[in-house]
Amino acid sequence: PFLKALLFELRLLDDNKDFVESRDSCSHINKTSVYGLVIGGGELWPVVAFLKNNMIYACVPLVEQTLSPHPPLISISGISQSFELLFGIQDFLFLGQKNDTELNTKLNQLPDLFLQACPFGTLLDANLQNSLDSINFASVPHPQKQPAWRVGTYKGKPQVSISITEKVKSMQYDKQDIADTWQVVGAVTCKCDLEGNMPNVTISLSLPTNGSPLQDILVHPCVTSLDSAILTSSSIDTMDDSAFSGPYKFPFTPPLESFNLCYYTSQVPVPPILGFYQMKEEEIQVKITVNLKLHESVKNNFEFCEAHIPFYNRGPITHVECKVSFGQLEVFREKSLLVWIIGQKFPKSMEISLSGTVTFGAKSQEKQPFDEICIGGTAYLKLHFRILDYTLTGCYADQHSVQVFASGKPKISTHRKLISSDYYIWNSKAPAPVTYGSLL
C-alpha cells in the first residue's frame, strides 16, 4: 500500500487518464518533494521522495514536534537529513556505476551500509562509500583526531589532481524583443592522495586578465574558511560594481575520495557559438534554415560538435532535402530527428549553415516524440559539443599556486574541459519559451 500510494502521488501509475480529485484537484499543490500519503485511511507524513535515474528514493523522517497541524517543513531537522541520506544513496548507487550487475551488488550492500551509516536511524554519514570503507577498514588502527569524513589513511605516492569542468547553457532566440541568455556552470573536482591524518591543501583558482569573474560559488564542507568576497559574489545582484576576480583560494583538508571542491557560475560576455534557426511550416513539410557561428575567442578544436534538430508532435520524417555548408547530416526518420555532425573544427570563416525542407508522414498517436513545449512552430535545435583543455571563463588552477602541507612533495596534475549542456537555439519564426532573464 505504501508503494502504491507513492506511485500514485508521483503520477507513476497507469491510471493517469481520468481526472482524479485527490491527485488532480487544483488545490492539491505540492511544491516540495515531501508528500503525505493516504494509506489505509490514515495519512503518512512526511514522506520525502523523488525520482531519479528510474529509481524512486523515499524516506520517512522522524518528526519531534506535534504532528497536527503539520509543522512547517523548515522546522523539521529530519527533512534535510532525509534528503542528505537519499542523495547519498543516489551517489553511492550511480557514481562510477557501469552496469546493472554492479547496481544490484550495491543495492544488496545497502542494508549493511544502513547499519553502519545510521545505526539507530540517526544518520552519521551520508557518504555511503565512506561507510562501506569503514566496514572494510575496521581492522586498521585508527589514528587520533581525524575528521569523521576521512576514513582511513592513504599510503603511497602523494599526488593531487584538479579538474575543472565547465558546462555552458544557452537559450538563443534571434529576436528583437527577447534577449539571448547563456551561462557557464563550473565544477572543480579534486582527488588528493596525501599521507597523514589531516593534510592541509590550498587550491587557488585564477583568471586571466580578461577572464569572467566566478559567481555563485558553493564549496565542499571540507573547506575551512572562505573569503567574504567569494561568499558574496553572486549572479543575482552584484553587491558592488567592482566584481571580485580572484584569485579564489580554497583551504581545505581533503577527504580520501574524489570530491567536488566547488561549483560556480559565470557570465561570459558572448556565447561560444551564436546561431539562428528558422523554421516555417508548410502543410506536411517544414522549411528550415540554420546558421551557426563560432566566436573567434573560442578554441576551435572540439572533441566533437553536433547540432540535433528534433521535430515533435508530428509524423515520421518521410523526406529530407537539405544542404549543409560544412559537416554532414544524419536523418533518424522514426525519431523525427536530424543530426548535423559538425566535427572537430569550424571552417576558417567560423560560420556554417544548413537549409532545406523536411517532409512528414501521417501522425500516429503513439510512436512519434511528444513534447509539451514544442507546439506548432515552436521548435529548437540543440548543440552538443566538448572542448578539452579549455574553459570559457578562462579559469585555471595553477600548479604552482597549489599549497600542500603534508609530508612529501606531491605530483600535481590539472585538467580542464568545456561541455555544452542545454544549449538551445529556438526557432525565431514562432513563439519560444522565455525565462525572466530574456525579458530585460
Binding site: M55, F83, L115, A148, V219, I236
Partner: protein, 917 residues
C-alpha cells in the same frame, strides 16, 4: 509509555530508508545467506532460517501471530551462539533484531531477557576480531530501549550501561573485548548506543558530562563523542530548567561512575517526571516556551557552559556534514533563551557553513536563525543568508529536490522582523525585487519548481500592488504571460493529465494570492474561457476549480463559461462536457438561453449518461428558481427521451416543479447525501430528496395533555393542551378511537407552534356511539424548521367516563325541577336498570364532593344532605343519581339509567370519586 523507542528514535533522523526501482516492490532480498545447509536434523539450517526470515519480513505482524511467531525471538538468540552459523548469517539475524525489536520481544520482561542473552553472547565471544561485537552492542541497546526495559531495576541495564561507558572512555575492559584494533570502532559504537539510550531516557548521562568533555578533549573519536555530549548537555539543561534548578556543577562533575559502582539515575528520573521535551515549535523565539529562561547559571557555570559549547563547535568541522547539522540543531535548542549565553559562539562557524551547498548545513543555519534571531544575525547577516538561499534555490549544480526545499525555506524564512501573521508563507522583506526576480517561474521549470516560484511571484505581485506602480517591468504582466503559456500547454490535445492539472493548480494559486487584483483576474477569466472553448474535455478541472475558488474568480468565470456553453450548437461532440459545466454554472441569469441550449441538446442526448447530465442541468435550474420555460422543457423531456429512467426522472422533476413552492423545492433538491447512482439515477437521487419529500418518522417534540372538562354544548368536547420543545409548523393531529365506540374523529390543525409560547386549547368534539370511556391513539404530522416533514406517534389520550357527561339542557329554570327529575327517574324503567350503592365520602363531606364533580348536573339540591343529579350521556342515554341522607363516612346513592351497560361504569365512577377527591 513515555519514552521514545529505538530504532530511529535517536534524534532528528530519517528512518526506514527505502530504495525501489520504480514499479518494483522494495523487498529486495535483504538476507544473503551463502553456503550449504547443514542437514535435515538438529537446529534450523541456514536455508530454514532464510525461509523463516523471509516469511517474517514479508509480514512481521502476521508471522508473529502465526504458530512460529512465538519461538522466533528465542530461536534467534540461541542461534547466535551456534557455532554452525557463519558470522555473516549472525549479523543478518542481529540486523533483524535491530529492525523489529518490538515485534520479537514485545514486553519489558521479554526484552530484558533478550538483552541479557545478547550481553552474555557478547561476553562469550572468543578474544579475536569479530564482526559481531558492534551489532551485538547495537542490538542489546535497541532491545532494551524498544522494550521499555531500560531502568534502575533492570539487570541488563545495570550491565550494559557501565560496559558502554567503559568502552566509550577507551578503558581497557580486559579479556573478551577483542583485540586492540577493534577498540576504536567499538568506542564509537558505544557512544552511539549511549546516545540512543540518553535520547530514550533524557538525563541518563547527566553525571557524565564532565567525563565526556574530557574524552572529547583527549583522543576520543570526535563525532560520536560530540553528538553524545551535545545531546546529554541539551537534555540536562532542559531537565534542570523544568525543575527550576541550577546546573549544580554538572558540567565539571569529576569522575564518572566507577566500574561496578551504582549508576546515578537521579537526573533521568527527574527527566522522566517531566515529559520528554519535544522539538520546539518554529519560529518560537519566546523564551518561556522552552523554559530555559528560568535557568540562571552562576557566572562560573555560565563560563563552563560556554567553554563546553565552544569546545563542541570548534571541533565541529571534523564531523560529517549531517552530523554537524545535528550538532547545531541540538546546541541551538539547548542554548535558546538561556541567559548569559550569547549566541555569538556560533558566529565563527557561520561563514564556513554559508559557503557550502550542503542542504543539512544550510538548514541548520536556518534553525539557528530561528532560534536566536537578531541576537545572532544582524540585518546584513540576514540579507546575506537570504542571498545564499536564493542562490542555492536555483544553482545549476544542485538537484531539483534541493532547489524545492530551498524555495520552501525562502517562503517560510524565519525573519528577524516578520510583518505578516506567523505560520503563513510570505516573501521575506529583505528579499528585494531583484532577488525575487531571479526566482521567477518559467514554462521550462519542473511543475513543482514552477508552482513554488509562482507562489513567490504572486507574493511579489501582491506587494507590488501596494507600492506605486513599478517602472517598466510589471510582475503582473509576466504572470499573465506565464499563465497563458500554461493554458496553451493544457490545451494540447492528447497531452498528459498532469499538464492540465498544473495549469489549474497555477490558476488556483494565483487566485488565492491575488484575489483582489482585477488586473490579474480579468485576463485569467477570459483565458480560462478560451481554454474551455478549445478543449472542453477539461470540464472536470473547471468544475473542481469553481468548487474551490472564492467569488472573485468564481462568479465571472461562471458567467463566461455559461455564455461559452450556451452559445454553442447543441450537438457538439463535447456535449457531455458542456452539460457537466452547465450543471455547475447554470443559474437564474438568462435562463432562456440556457433552456434554448438544453432544448437543442435534448435531441442529441441519446444515451443514458447524456440524458442524466441533461437532467442534472434541469435540476440546477430548478434550484436556482427558474420556472418559466423549464416546466415545458421537462414535460417535453418526459415524452421525448428514449430511456425510461430519463423519462421518469423528467416526469418526477416536472411534478416537483409543479407542486412544490420555491423554498421547499430548494430543500428537496439540495445536496444529496445519497451514494452515487448505481443502476438508476432516479433511485439514487430519490434517496436524496425522498428524505425531504417523504414523511419521516421522528420522536415527537410535542406533548399533549387533556385540559379541564367543559360540560356544555351539544356533545362532549375534549380540551387538549399542546406544548412543543422546538418550533413546529403545520401541525396536524390525527386521532383514532380504539374499537368502534365513537364516530371517527376529525384531525386538528395548528399552523405554528413555538416552545414556551402556549397556544389556546384545542377542542376535540367526541361522537360516542356508546356511552363508554376509551383511549384515543394520536399521531402527529408536522414540518420542521429545516423543511422536513415528520411523523410521530404520541402517547394515547384517555377519554374517561366522566368526560362524556352532559347536563340536560331542557331543565326548567324555576318551579318544578323536582318534577322534571322525577319524570326522568321514572322513565328509565322498565327498559333500564336500577342500582344502589354506597359512595364513600372523604373528609370534605358530600357538599364538596358534589360541587367538585357533579355541579353542572345537579337538578335538585338540598345542601348539605340531598342532591338529585341528572346526567345525559351521549349518544342518547341518561344517568340519574339520588344522593340522600349522607352520613359521616359516605352517602347511599340510588341510581337509574336507561342503558344497563352504564351501571358498572357509574358504579366505578362513584366509588372512585372520594379517592380522586
Amino acid at each position: 509509555m513515555s519514552s521514545r523507542h529505538a530504532p530511529g528514535a535517536g534524534g532528528p533522523a530519517p528512518r526506514g530508508p527505502l530504495v525501489a526501482r520504480s514499479g518494483v516492490a522494495p523487498e529486495t532480498s535483504r538476507l544473503y545467506l551463502g553456503g550449504r545447509g547443514c542437514g535435515t536434523m538438529g537446529p534450523p539450517s541456514r536455508e530454514t532460517w532464510a525461509q523463516r526470515l523471509g516469511a517474517f519480513r514479508a509480514s512481521p505482524s502476521a508471522f508473529m501471530a502465526g504458530p512460529e511467531g512465538e519461538d522466533l525471538g528465542r530461536d534467534l538468540l540461541i542461534e547466535l551462539r551456534s557455532e554452525k552459523l557463519s558470522e555473516q548469517t549472525k549479523v543478518s539475524l542481529l540486523a533483524l533484531s535491530l529492525e523489529y525489536p518490538a515485534q520479537l520481544w514485545p514486553d519489558a520482561a521479554a526484552a530484558e531477557a533478550a538483552a541479557t542473552s545478547l550481553l552474555d553472547t557478547l561476553v562469550l565471544l572468543p578474544p579475536r576480531p569479530s564482526a559481531l561485537r558492534r551489532p551485538l552492542l547495537l542490538a542489546a541497546t535497541t532491545v532494551l530501549a524498544a522494550g521499555d526495559a531500560l531502568g534502575p531495576t533492570s539487570g541488563a541495564s545495570r550491565r550494559l550501561l557501565p560496559l558502554l561507558l567503559g568502552l566509550a572512555s577507551g578503558r581497557d575492559l580486559g579479556r573478551g573485548f577483542g583485540p586492540a584494533s577493534e577498540q576504536r570502532p567499538l568506542q564509537a559504537t558505544a557512544c552511539e548506543c549511549l546516545r540512543e539510550l540518553e535520547s530514550c531516557k533524557p538525563g541518563l548521562l547527566g553525571d557524565c558530562l564532565g567525563l565526556l568533555r574530557r574524552l572529547l578533549g583527549q583522543e576520543g573519536p570526535v563525532q560520536p563523542l560530540s553528538l553524545l555530549l551535545a545531546l546529554a548537555l541539551r537534555n540536562a539543561l532542559v531537565i534542570r530548567a523544568k525543575a527550576k534548578a541550577g546546573l549544580q556543577g554538572l558540567l565539571v562533575a569529576g569522575d564518572a561512575p566507577t566500574p561496578g559502582g551504582p549508576w546515578n539515575w537521579a537526573l533521568a528520573e527527574e527527566g522522566g517526571a517531566h515529559p520528554q521535551p519535544q522539538a520546539p515549535s518554529w519560529p518560537a523565539a519566546e523564551d518561556e516556551e522552552c523554559g530555559l529562561a528560568v535557568l540562571e547559571p552562576s557566572p562560573e557555570e555560565a563560563r563552563e557552559l560556554r567553554a563546553a559549547v565552544a569546545q563542541l563547535l570548534d571541533s565541529s568541522y571534523l564531523l560529517t556534514p549531517v552530523a554537524q547539522a545535528q550538532l547545531l540543531w541540538l546546541l541551538g535548542w539547548a542554548l535558546r533563551g538561556l541567559r548569559g549565553q550569547p549566541p555569538v559562539l556560533f558566529k565563527p562557524q557561520l561563514v564556513r557553513l554559508l559557503g557550502t551547498a550542503q542542504l543539512a548545513l544550510l538548514h541548520a543555519v536556518l534553525a539557528l536563525k530561528a532560534a536566536f534571531g537578531e541576537a545572532l544575525f544582524t540585518a546584513q547577516d540576514e540579507a546575506l543568508l537570504l542571498r545564499r538561499l536564493t542562490l542555492a534555490a536555483q544553482h545549476p549544480a544542485l538537484p531539483l529536490p534541493a532547489h524545492l526545499f530551498y524555495l520552501h525555506c525562502l517562503l517560510s524564512f524565519p525573519e528577524n522582523c516578520p510583518l505578516g501573521p506567523a505560520g503563513e508563507e510570505a516573501a521575506p522583506l529583505l528579499l528585494g525585487p531583484r532577488l525575487g526576480r531571479s526566482l521567477l517561474p518559467s514554462l521550462l521549470h519542473d511543475p513543482m519548481a514552477l508552482l513554488a516560484r509562482l507562489h513567490l511571484l504572486c507574493l511579489l505581485c501582491a506587494e507590488d500592488e501596494e507600492e506605486e506602480k513599478g517602472q517598466g517591468w510589471s510582475p503582473q504582466r509576466y504572470l499573465g504571460e506565464l499563465l497563458a503559456g500554461l493554458r496553451q500547454r493544457a490545451d494540447l490535445d492528447g497531452g498528459p493529465r498532469a499538464l492540465a492539472a498544473l495549469c489549474f493548480q497555477a490558476s488556483y494559486l494565483v487566485v488565492r494570492c491575488l484575489a483582489t487584483q482585477p488586473l490579474v483576474l480579468t485576463p485569467l477569466t477570459h483565458g480560462l474561457a478560451e481554454l474551455y472553448r478549445a478543449r472542453p474535455a477539461l470540464a472536470p478541472h473547471f468544475v473542481d476549480l469553481l468548487d474551490r475558488v472564492g467569488p472573485e474568480l468564481g462568479e465571472p468565470l461562471r458567467a463566461v463559461l455559461r455564455q461559452e456553453v450556451v452559445s454553442r450548437a447543441g450537438r457538439d461532440e463535447a456535449l457531455r462536457w458542456h452539460l457537466k459545466i452547465l450543471a455547475k454554472v447554470a443559474d437564474g441569469n438568462a435562463p432562456s438561453a440556457t433552456l434554448g441550449f438544453l432544448r437543442a441538446a435534448a435531441a442529441h442526448c441519446t444515451d443514458w449518461g447524456l440524458q442524466q447530465a441533461l437532467l442534472r442541468v434541469c435540476r440546477t435550474l430548478m434550484r436556482a428558481g427558474v420556472r418559466e420555460g423549464l416546466a415545458d422543457l421537462l414535460q417535453a423531456l418526459a415524452r421525448q427521451l428514449d430511456d425510461p429512467d430519463g423519462r421518469d426522472h423528467a416526469r418526477l422533476y416536472y411534478i416537483l416543479l409543479a407542486h412544490l413552492a420555491g423554498p421547499k423545492l430548494g430543500v428537496a433538491l439540495g445536496p444529496s447525501l445519497a451514494a452515487p447512482a448505481l443502476t438508476s439515477s432516479l433511485v439514487a437521487e430519490n434517496q436524496g430528496f425522498a428524505a425531504v419529500l417523504m414523511v419521516q418518522e421522528a420522536p415527537a417534540p410535542i406533548r399533549l395533555s387533556v385540559g379541564p372538562r367543559r360540560a356544555a354544548g351539544p356533545g362532549p368536547v375534549l380540551q387538549l393542551q399542546v406544548e412543543v420543545l422546538e418550533p413546529v409548523f403545520s401541525l396536524e393531529l390525527r386521532f383514532r378511537v380504539q374499537g368502534q365506540l365513537y364516530a371517527p374523529l376529525d384531525a386538528v390543525h395548528v399552523p405554528c407552534l413555538r416552545p414556551g409560547r402556549p397556544c389556546s386549547p384545542l377542542l376535540l368534539p367526541l361522537q360516542p356511539r356508546l356511552p363508554a370511556p376509551t383511549q384515543l391513539s394520536v399521531r402527529a404530522l408536522y414540518a420542521t424548521p429545516a423543511g422536513l416533514t415528520c411523523h410521530a406517534h404520541l402517547p394515547p389520550v384517555p377519554v374517561n367516563f366522566e368526560d362524556l357527561f352532559l347536563p340536560f339542557p331542557q331543565a326548567p329554570d324555576d318551579g318544578d325541577k323536582q318534577g322534571f327529575f322525577e319524570e326522568l327517574w321514572d322513565s328509565c324503567l322498565p327498559k333500564g336498570a336500577e342500582s344502589r350503592l354506597w359512595c364513600p365520602l372523604g373528609p370534605q363531606g358530600l357538599e364538596a364532593l358534589v360541587s367538585r364533580h357533579l355541579e353542572p348536573f345537579v337538578v335538585v339540591a338540598q345542601p348539605p344532605t340531598s342532591y338529585h343529579v341528572a346526567i345525559r350521556l351521549p349518544p342518547d342515554s341518561r344517568l340519574l343519581l339520588r344522593l340522600e341522607a349522607a352520613q359521616a363516612g359516605g352517602v347511599p346513592v340510588a341510581l337509574r339509567t336507561d342503558h344497563w351497560a352504564v351501571l358498572p361504569l357509574a358504579g366505578d365512577y362513584l366509588r372512585g370519586l372520594s379517592a380522586t377527591g
